[in-house]
C-alpha cells in the first residue's frame, strides 16, 4: 500500500511537472516567436521579405522548377488545352494543375508569350541572408551598394551609429547620477537621525505616484526659461528626477535591512558615517544597486517621451528610439531596415540584462522579502 501511494504520488508529481513545464514552454515560445521573426527578417534582403515570410528560412516544401518549355504555338489558348497529358483552361494552368505523381504543370507569364514550367515539391530552405541591412542602417554617409544584378547604387544610410552614441550619452549618466544620489539618501533615511526624517521619506515615496506625463509641460517651460532645452544635461536632470523616488525607496529597503550590529561595530571601530557608507554599505549593497541600475538603464534607453521633450529631435542629439520612430515614418515599407534598426536598439539592453540577470531577479525581491 505504502509503496503504491508513494508511486502514485510520484506519478502525480511527474504529471504536474509536465503540465507546468509545458505551459511555461508554450508561453516562452509564444513570446519569443515574433522577436525571432524580427531577428530573421533583419538579415533578409528586401526582395525576400516582400515575396515570402521569415519562416521560409526554416526547412519546408516548395514547388521547384524541374523543366521548362515554350507552349506549342497552335494551342487554343482561349479554350481547353492539353499540355503534358493534362487538360485545362488557361486560368486553371495559371494556378497550376497537379498530376497524380506529385508534379505540377504551371503556366508562367501571359497568354501569348508565357512559358510552361513542370514543378516538383522539394525540401528547401531560403538561407541567403545578408548583413547589408545593418550596414545600411548603421552608416550615416552615402555609400555604394551592389544590387543582385551587379549594378552599383548610391544609398544614404540611416545613421543609427550616431543615435546609439547619443542614447549612451543619455542613458549612462541618467543611470549613474540617480543611483549615487539615492544611495546616499537611502543611507541617511535608514541609519541617520535627523529631524523630519520620516516626513521627508514619506514625501520622497509619495513622489512615486506622480505620473511622468503631467510633469512634462511644466518642465519643458522651465527648461526653455533656463535655456536648457536641447541639451543632454536637460535629459539627465529629467531622468534623475523621475528615477529618484523609486531608487531611494528600493535602496532604502535594502540598506535598512542590513544588520545593525555591523554598523555599530564599525562605529566602535572608529568609522564615520561617510566611511561606513563607502567601505561597508556600498560593497554590501551591490545586488540592490545593480538591480536598480538595470531598471534605470533599460528605462532610459527605451525612453522616447522624456527625450523628445527635453532634447528634441535634432539629428545631432537624437536618441535611438527617436531615430527608429523616424525611419518608421520615412521608410515605413522597408521592413528590412526597420527590423535591423529595431534589433540594433535591442542589443545593448539584452546584453545588460543577460550579464546582470542574477541581480535582477534578486533585486525584484529586494523590497518585498527581507533576509
Amino acid at each position: 500500500m505504502a509503496a503504491n501511494s508513494a508511486n502514485s504520488k510520484q506519478r502525480q508529481k511527474l504529471i504536474s511537472d509536465i503540465i507546468i513545464n509545458g505551459a511555461l514552454f508554450l508561453l516562452v515560445f509564444v513570446w519569443t516567436v515574433p522577436t525571432f521573426g524580427v531577428l530573421v527578417s533583419s538579415f533578409r534582403t528586401r526582395f525576400d521579405i516582400q515575396t515570402s515570410g521569415w519562416w521560409s528560412i526554416l526547412p519546408h516544401r516548395e514547388w521547384m522548377k524541374v523543366n521548362e518549355f515554350k507552349p506549342d504555338k497552335d494551342l487554343d489558348r482561349d479554350g481547353v488545352m492539353t499540355i503534358k497529358g493534362l487538360q485545362g483552361t488557361f486560368k486553371e494552368f495559371r494556378k497550376g494543375i497537379e498530376t497524380p505523381d506529385g508534379t505540377r504543370v504551371t503556366w508562367i507569364g501571359n497568354k501569348r508569350l508565357g512559358r510552361i514550367e513542370v514543378q516538383e515539391r522539394r525540401w528547401t530552405m531560403r538561407t541567403d541572408l545578408t548583413l547589408e541591412n545593418y550596414t545600411n542602417v548603421l552608416s550615416g554617409k552615402k555609400y555604394a551598394l551592389k544590387d543582385a544584378a551587379g549594378n552599383e547604387k548610391i544609398v544614404r544610410g540611416d545613421n543609427f551609429w550616431g543615435a546609439i552614441l547619443n542614447s549612451l550619452t543619455v542613458a549612462v549618466p541618467a543611470t549613474v547620477i540617480p543611483i549615487m544620489i539615492a544611495a546616499f539618501a537611502a543611507y541617511g533615511f535608514a541609519w541617520m537621525n535627523f529631524p523630519g526624517r520620516k516626513i521627508l521619506f514619506v514625501i520622497v515615496v509619495a513622489a512615486l505616484v506622480v505620473p511622468v506625463q503631467i510633469e512634462l509641460v511644466p518642465i519643458l517651460r522651465d527648461y526653455v526659461k533656463l535655456d536648457l532645452n536641447g541639451t543632454f544635461l536637460a535629459v539627465w536632470l529629467a531622468h534623475t528626477g523621475f528615477g529618484l523616488p523609486l531608487a531611494t525607496y528600493l535602496l532604502y529597503n535594502y540598506i535598512s535591512g542590513l544588520p545593525r550590529d555591523i554598523l555599530e561595530s564599525a562605529f566602535i571601530d572608529g568609522a564615520s558615517h561617510f566611511t561606513i557608507f563607502t567601505r561597508l554599505i556600498l560593497p554590501l549593497s551591490v545586488p540592490a544597486l545593480a538591480s536598480f541600475a538595470i531598471f534605470q538603464f533599460l528605462w532610459t534607453w527605451n525612453d522616447y517621451l522624456v527625450a523628445l521633450v527635453s532634447i528634441g529631435s535634432k539629428p545631432d542629439v537624437q536618441v535611438l528610439t527617436m531615430r527608429l520612430a523616424e525611419i518608421v515614418g520615412s521608410r515605413g515599407s522597408d521592413w528590412h531596415l526597420l527590423t535591423a534598426g529595431a534589433f540594433i536598439s535591442m542589443i545593448l539592453p539584452l546584453a545588460v540584462f543577460f550579464s546582470l540577470q542574477r541581480f535582477f531577479v534578486r533585486g525584484m525581491l529586494a523590497g518585498s522579502v527581507k533576509g
Partner: protein, 368 residues
C-alpha cells in the same frame, strides 16, 4: 586598563524605562558579568556604556573621564556582538585591521597586532578567508580578535556565546576566561545564562526589569541571595520556595509550612525575630534536601514526609520531584544510592544550615 563607573544612570525609551538608576563600580581588570532574564536591560546598560545609546540621566565614567557625550570610537572600548557583526565582504585580516586602519596605525604595527591576536586565538591559518567560509566558533574568535587588536581599556561582550552549540560554548567559556587573565583588562560581559555568569565572573550583577538586584561574587550570590528573584534566578535546578509562617517564641522559633515544621537555630532566630508571627517565604536549594540514609557529614536536619512524583537519574545524583502536603511541589538532589520509586511515600531531610527566609511582601531576605 581602567575602571568603569555607572552613576545613577537611567535610560528611557519614551515612556519605557529600560535601565533605572543604575549605580555600579567596575574595578580595573575585573571580569564583571551582567546577568538577568531577557529584556531586563542588561544589554541596554552595555550599549549605553559603549556609546551606542544616549543615556537619559546620570553619568558614566571610564577611568576618571565622564563619557556621556563622548562618541563610541573615543571611549577606548571594544565590543563583541552576539551576531559577531563581522564585515562580510572583508577577509579575516581586514576585519581585524579595519579599526586600526581607521585610526591611521602604521602598517607594520597593524600587521604585528593582527598576527599576535590571531596567534592567541589560533586563527592564523584563516586570515585570508572571508567570514562566510568560517564556522560559528571561528567567527566568534575573529570577533574577539577584532576587539583584542584595538588594545582597548575595557572589553564589552554582549552574549558572545549564545550562537554557539553547547559543547563549543563550554570550551569557549574557558578560553574567554583565559584570555581575560592573559590580557589583564577590564571585561564586562552580558549574558542571560546564569551558568556562564557563575563560571566566568569575578563579580556578578543581577538585573531585573532595569533595576539592579545584587552585586557580589558568584559564591556569595549563591549562598546569600538578597531577594527571592536572585535566589530563584541563580542555580539550576532553581531554589524551592514554600509559603510559611514564623511560629513559636524567641527561644524556640519554627518555620511552619502547614505540612512540616522546621526549628530555626538560635542564630537564625535572632536574625528573623522581628518577623515572628508574620508570613514568610521559606527557600531551600535542591542539594540541601537529602535522603536520611545517605547524609553528607555534618548535616543537621529536620525530617519531613513527601511523595515521590518523578525521578531523574543524572549519574552523580538523582533529581527527585516531590510533593509535600497539598500539592506543594519541589525538587531535591539526592545521593544516587537512595533508591526512590515513583508513588512512594518517603522521608526527606532539610539541611537547616542552608535555608533561606524571605519577607513575603518585600521579597527581601530576612537572613542577610
Amino acid at each position: 586598563m581602567s575602571s568603569v563607573t555607572f552613576d545613577k544612570m537611567t535610560k528611557r525609551y519614551g515612556d519605557v524605562t529600560a535601565v533605572s538608576d543604575l549605580s555600579l563600580e567596575v574595578k580595573d581588570k575585573e571580569f564583571l558579568v551582567l546577568v538577568g532574564p531577557s529584556g531586563c536591560g542588561k544589554s541596554t546598560a552595555l550599549r549605553c556604556l559603549a556609546g551606542l545609546e544616549e543615556i537619559s540621566d546620570g553619568h558614566i565614567r571610564i577611568g576618571d573621564r565622564v563619557v556621556n557625550d563622548v562618541p563610541p570610537k573615543d571611549r577606548d572600548i571594544a565590543m563583541v556582538f552576539q551576531s559577531y557583526a563581522l564585515y562580510p565582504h572583508m577577509s579575516v585580516y581586514d576585519n581585524m585591521a579595519f579599526g586600526l586602519k581607521l585610526r591611521k596605525t602604521p602598517k607594520s604595527e597593524i600587521d604585528r597586532r593582527v598576527h599576535e591576536a590571531a596567534q592567541i586565538l589560533g586563527i592564523e591559518q584563516y586570515l585570508d578567508r572571508k567570514p562566510k567560509a568560517l564556522s560559528g566558533g571561528q567567527r566568534q574568535r575573529v570577533a574577539l580578535g577584532r576587539a583584542i587588536v584595538r588594545e582597548p581599556s575595557v572589553f564589552l561582550l554582549d552574549e558572545p556565546l549564545s550562537n554557539l552549540d553547547a559543547k563549543l560554548r563550554v570550551q569557549t567559556r574557558a578560553e574567554i576566561s583565559k584570555l581575560h587573565q592573559r590580557l589583564g583588562t577590564t571585561f564586562i560581559y552580558v549574558t542571560h545564562d546564569q551558568v556562564e555568569a557563575m563560571t566566568m565572573a569575578d563579580r556578578i550583577v543581577v538585573i531585573k526589569d532595569g533595576v539592579l538586584q545584587q552585586v557580589d561574587s558568584p559564591q556569595n550570590l549563591y549562598d546569600h541571595p538578597v531577594n527571592i528573584f536572585v535566589a530563584g534566578f541563580i542555580g539550576s535546578p532553581s531554589m524551592n520556595f514554600f509559603d510559611a509562617t514564623l511560629t513559636g517564641d524567641a527561644k524556640e522559633m519554627y518555620v511552619d509550612t502547614g505540612t512540616f515544621r522546621l526549628r530555626l537555630s538560635d542564630e537564625q532566630a535572632q536574625k528573623v525575630a522581628g518577623s515572628l508571627g508574620k508570613e514568610v517565604v521559606f527557600g531551600i536549594r535542591p542539594e540541601d534536601i537529602n535522603s536520611p540514609d545517605y547524609l553528607p557529614a555534618d548535616v543537621k536536619g529536620v525530617r519531613a514526609p513527601a511523595t515521590v512524583d518523578l525521578t531523574e537519574m543524572m549519574g552523580s545524583e538523582i533529581y527527585v520531584y516531590l510533593t509535600a502536603g497539598n500539592d506543594k511541589n519541589f525538587i531535591a538532589r539526592i545521593d544516587p544510592r537512595a533508591a526512590y520509586h515513583v508513588g512512594e511515600k518517603v522521608e526527606i531531610l532539610f539541611n537547616l544550615d542552608s535555608i533561606h527566609l524571605f519577607d513575603r511582601e518585600t521579597e527581601k531576605s530576612l537572613l542577610v
